[in-house]
Amino acid sequence: MPLAVDMRHIRKFFPSSSVLACDDVDFAVEQGEVHALVGENGAGKTTLMNILYGLVAPDAGQIFVHEKLSHIAHPNDAIKQGIGMVHQHFKLVPSFTIAQNILLGIEPNQAGFIDNNDEADIVRRLSESFGLPVNPNARVADISVGMQQRVEILKTLQRNAQILILDEPTAVLTPQEVRELYVVIRKLAADGRTVILITHKLLEVKEVADRVSIMRRGRMVATHSVADVSVRDMANLMVGREVILRVDKSPATPGDVVLKADNLLVAGAGGIPAVFGVSLEVRAGEILGIAGVSGNGQTELVEAITGLRPVEGGTINLLGQNITHASVRKRREIGMAHVPEDRMVVGLNLKTNLDENVVVTHYQDEPYSKRGILRLPPIRKLAQQIVDAFQVKSARVGEEIKTLSGGNLQKVVLGRELYGKPRLLVVNQPTRGLDVGSIEFVHKTLIEERDSGAAILLVSVELDEILSLSDRIAVMFGGRIMDVLDAEAANEQDIGVLMAGGSLETEPAAAEKV
């Protein structure tokens, strides 16, 4: 089979976040195949495809389209080469009709004037020739997400795309819509078109793809024929094996229920449920770990529990009080602390100094303020205490913190959040981007906190972290909790299967109650 796409030695470095998104990546796709490109969020697969589509300029490497060297500097170049992309977040104009969206930019016109009936006819013919029925005159704002995706696919076909890139196409679809999409994908491939499927759902790969390429941390790890690899193999290649960090801990002695969430419903971007019916309990003196590939609702779950995102359905209880719609301050007064995912933006204010960053959760209490006036000496004392207790190197009272390393910044956050002995600690990706020493420190601190009776909800995409710290492990996929495992009995393989959307044979449909 001739190659439809051949990308060689692609390299892309993002200086702003200092991430090497693509590190000498080779990627070849045969004509007429469905080729899955899998990897965790941040593995570089979307960047690679954005390079192919001309949205991102590579630092190095060559791209051959239909075996001809191509310069793709802009999506227009890609479209001219017969490449079409359906983005994860659809690029549609909500108030326009289906026909107007499909023909956007290529409207048939007479001296600049448009005839709506002409447009509807063109779209009707297009949809019939591909067997993808749509109502050309329906407004995009009024149609289902699955239909919107169909509009996006038709948009690329109207521009005569021979190579279609679908970015996480099933992330927003209902199971019924997913099945319909599979049929469409197979049909397009049968017509001789090439489909590249970006995904992290391995069952989906098994079901619809011919071949699969796996990326991990900016590198191309393997390319296989789908028939030759199991879901488990793919999961292992995707997540990879890291150095297992040993954490010394004694068995947990769980006490009373501290946090109880029941049947939570939380909206994500674009009006899609990000958390769909999650129920869980965290007890005093235990760590509940939430494992999962990032982007499966963990962030929204944490934001809902900590009060940063509205809850649309279900209830949250903290120490017997209903906090479903309580303010962040109210939650903190009851005894919640939060170590957020993004310490640079949410966790800390890098534009101000250490003092203000540590007192920000307690500034309204005595002795830190009196009659609305901040009092500097006690604040400085608190800052010094945290610096000493958490060994925050090179941090000085009253000075800026933006020059501190990631590990030291995280220590500042931890020190602040653990001050005042919280009853519940919600921790999201606590060791992302930290060096080994800092990781060890964070892990040790969390275990100590657990042993002194705090309930800890730990969310992490690092499987090792989950395995070594948690007492119980809940696996999240597609906004739902797939299963809850006892940490003693859990192994990496089982969790990998659950993270990929599969289920464990031994415990069917036990995913409801945590």
Binding site: N76, K91, S95, F113, I114, N263, F276, G277, E312, G313
Partner: protein
Amino acid sequence: MIEFLNTHSRQVRIGLIIAGVLIILLLLISLPMTLLQSSIRLATPYVLGSLAALLASRAGVLNLAIEGKMLLGAFVAVVTVYQPGVLPGQGRDPILGVLVAALFGGGLGLIFAVLYLRIRINLVILALAVNLFVANATVFFMRVQFGAFGTLADPSIRSLSTLQLPIIHSVPFVGPLLSGYQILVYLSWVMVVLVWVLLFRTQFGRHIRAVGENREAAESVGINVTRVQIFALTLSGMLAGMAGAFLSLGVLSQFVENMVSGRGWTSITISLFAFEQPVGAFFTALFFGLAEALSFYLQSRPEVNLPPDLLLALPQIATITALVLVALRIRTAELMKRRTFAQQFGHELDKLRRGVLAGGQD
């Protein structure tokens, strides 16, 4: 309340339109003809200004510099027509003044667009700078070039001539209501239609709307977003310039320092209030014209015992009311969106749970 709006949105809209028509009819019957006439005349800068505002925001740029562009139009229109020494009323044709004002407004719109889109100056700072610059530059030129303080007036400056519409002007009631205004008043009505045709019947208008509503969608199909926005801002500037020319040549036949006095800002409010629809903006502008005319009318009535300051503030009160309504509308829309989400997916969730409890599969 929200559920009701949610399920009956179409009926609510039709109800609002019927209510609007009834209010207009009631006003037409009950108000004196002179008041109606001055309402229509005074609405003209609002009609043109709100068209300028909605054209820009349809292209995704909140044009906060309309005030300055209107002021520039008012100034250059008078300067064009100003010819000291000629016999009174024999100066240059005011139509020329309007054209030059449109040209300068468009020019300023173009400069604004290039500074914002190409050099990427912060939009708010840029708009404030333009507004302040024009306000001070007009005063400066007035003093240095014409030796005028506060007001630039001359017998040579003619105001725009009025136009009697054939046939219509002899129809009772309708004739005095619709006929006998200056040509720019009628031109503003034509502009309402032209802007509507541009936005909803041409390819370029479709691109403007796509850029404003979902910039990435437009970019991804190869529409040159920057070019579309520059063009829309230039057109917007031309309309604002014409609105300014009406203030100086249509109402007073002189230029007065800072004579726009907030009408540019009000125009933005009108555009927001009218959902950025040209026809809706036209009727909203008429309402603001009425508020302004009413303020003058009541001041001239000795039997009205309201404080004059309050009457003077009538248009501003109307503006604040409109802004509050706009904010309420946005809030309601958000609430309705959340309510719909909770209903739809809450229901699906219930179904799913019942299925699980009954031993079914998801």
